[in-house]
């Protein structure tokens, strides 16, 4: 289970700038990363996120599955989930 509480406080701009008011850290993300982050913040499950990405971008199921997993691991590294 993923702890999404920390995501709820993030300030996310449309341009990909992310600010964490708790720690003071700031982050940048690309369009795909931003999309996943917003969907996670909105409480969407992995399958829903995958579908949303594949609806918007030209990518295979396998690639998106691995990339979402990788992105979440990266969020864990930054203690954002």
């Amino acid at each position: 289970m993923m702890d999404r509480d920390k995501l709820s406080v993030l300030a996310i701009s449309d341009s990909g700038f992310i600010f964490d008011p708790v720690t003071g850290h700031s982050y940048t993300a690309n369009a795909t990363g931003l999309k996943i982050l917003e969907l996670l913040k909105a409480g969407k499950e992995e399958d829903e996120i995958k579908s949303a990405i594949m609806d918007e971008f030209e990518a295979s199921d396998d690639e998106v599955t691995v990339d979402i997993q990788d992105f979440v691991e990266n969020l864990k590294k930054y203690f954002l989930v």
Binding site: T28, F71, K77
Partner: protein, 450 residues
């Protein structure tokens, strides 16, 4: 229409760490090697595949030899088999005029099998079986002896051959570098070398003709060669004076570096590694300073790495992508330390076969072996790589296809780009029969029920 997919990334912003040199070593992509698309190598020979360039080997040799021979009149070069003894590589260098420098009975036989006359072989190394010494003396090879027991063994071999044979001795010395390679040859400083010469001069079967040294590998400081030349010339003078013999050759071995990145070095090789001309200057200028023109002996260099390393690449393929628990990105590629023994000492240049978008991260390249030590690159700066990306590692020409081992997997093919642009396979990928061929299973072990 859907948008182009770029792998997702998020990166924490931090105050930049200054790099006054402004060089990123492990960043870049290459779509071809000498005009041949990366995919063609893997389509024809599979992945991984080693690639060598005939053109680069010849260019590197000619550059080094022409510079050396322009500075010293009796310059000679001998190809260091252990650096790369693929038949095609050795043959290129023999065509260029290099003799063969071997360090084992196997290498000796390989040189002979390629058509190198025995009297065009330098036989070095700390262990030479008696039979191979007999063959070498019969053929008239240049044999450089390593220790006192080998002097005695050489006398025994000469007796078998039935003639007085010429030999050289390998010497070692302090050239100001650490570690000193003192395990090979006779030490100059404590008179070990002089005593070896004394012993040979009293022999009915041996005649001293040359002095050989090889002060280290991937040497970073040319000054060490100046010291080596000074000390060897002093020894030569002392020997010629005391024993009334003429030394006809000096052999300063190899050890010149290539543009590879030695682990533990901060600067990239383009900055840290001095040009090969500086090393040749150190040898040739010191010789000219120390010798009178009427006493110039033949002088050999056994340069291996500096000729062939940058003529080689390894193309490998990303098979899986993993994020480690500590957040580090890692990739599993199909070439490991079984093929890349040298990865223990070098941080290779890592390139990919296409331009990829996304945030660059320091990533680990793991090999395919089921072993924790199978790490090809500890910190390659890479964008997010999809499975199937080809990774091109370089320089790969030196020592890899001689030190590779058949562990768990077959050794792959080696391809060569010929000077005319044609692609040739110079060693095929191994098959099961190559491994099981020399084995015998006793009859009683042949049957089992599972």
């Amino acid at each position: 229409m859907k948008k182009e997919y770029i792998k997702p990334y998020i990166k924490r912003q931090s105050a930049g760490v200054m790099n006054k040199f402004g060089v990123t070593y492990n960043k870049g992509h290459r779509e071809d090697i000498e005009g041949i698309p990366i995919g063609r190598f893997t389509d024809e020979f599979g992945s991984p595949v080693f690639v060598l360039s005939e053109k680069v080997i010849r260019e590197r040799y000619r550059k080094i030899y022409s510079y050396f021979s322009s500075k010293y009149p009796k310059a000679k070069m001998s190809w260091s088999y252990k650096t790369n003894y693929l038949g095609a590589v050795c043959s290129i260098l023999h065509q260029e005029g290099e003799t063969a420098e071997v360090v084992s009975d196997f290498e000796y036989e390989k040189a002979r099998s390629l058509g190198v006359p025995g009297n065009r072989i330098i036989y070095n190394g700390p262990y030479k079986p008696l039979d191979s010494l007999v063959t070498a003396f019969t053929d008239g090879a240049m044999v450089n002896l390593d220790n006192f027991d080998e002097i005695i063994k050489a006398e025994e071999a000469a007796k078998k051959v039935g003639k007085k044979v010429s030999v050289g001795i390998r010497v070692n010395m302090d050239t100001g570098v650490y570690p000193q390679w003192s395990r090979f040859g006779f030490p100059i400083e404590n008179n070990g070398a002089f005593n070896a010469v004394k012993r040979i001069s009293h022999s009915e079967h041996l005649h001293l003709e040359g002095i050989h040294c090889h002060i280290g590998t991937f040497m970073m400081d040319p000054n060490a060669y100046k010291e080596a030349v000074k000390k060897v010339v002093q020894l030569m003078r002392k020997i010629e004076h005391e024993f009334e013999i003429t030394i006809s050759y000096l052999d300063f071995g190899g050890g010149f570096p290539s543009n590879n990145k030695l682990k533990g070095t901060y600067l990239p090789p383009e900055v840290a590694v001095q040009p090969v001309e500086n090393f040749i200057d150190a040898v040739a200028d010191t010789l000219l300073d120390e010798l009178a023109p009427d006493e110039y002996p033949d002088v050999y260099l056994e340069t291996g790495r500096a000729i062939v390393d940058e003529a080689g690449w390894l193309i490998s393929t990303v098979d899986a992508v993993k994020r480690l628990p500590d957040g580090t990105k890692s990739y599993i590629i199909d070439a490991g330390v079984n093929l890349l023994y040298t990865s223990a000492w070098y941080n290779y240049k890592v390139e990919i076969d296409r331009e990829l978008h996304g945030a660059y991260e320091n990533s680990i390249l793991y090999g395919p072996l089921c072993m924790n030590i199978d790490v090809v690159a500890e910190s390659a700066f890479l964008p997010p790589l999809p499975k199937g990306t080809r990774i091109i590692l370089s320089p790969m020409g030196a020592y890899n296809v001689t030190q590779w081992m058949q562990f768990i997997r077959y050794r792959p093919a080696v391809a060569m780009i010929m000077e005319d642009g044609k692609l040739e396979q110079i060693r095929r990928a191994e098959k099961l029969e190559d491994i099981t061929g020399p084995e015998f299973v006793p009859d009683k072990l042949r049957k089992f029920n599972l």
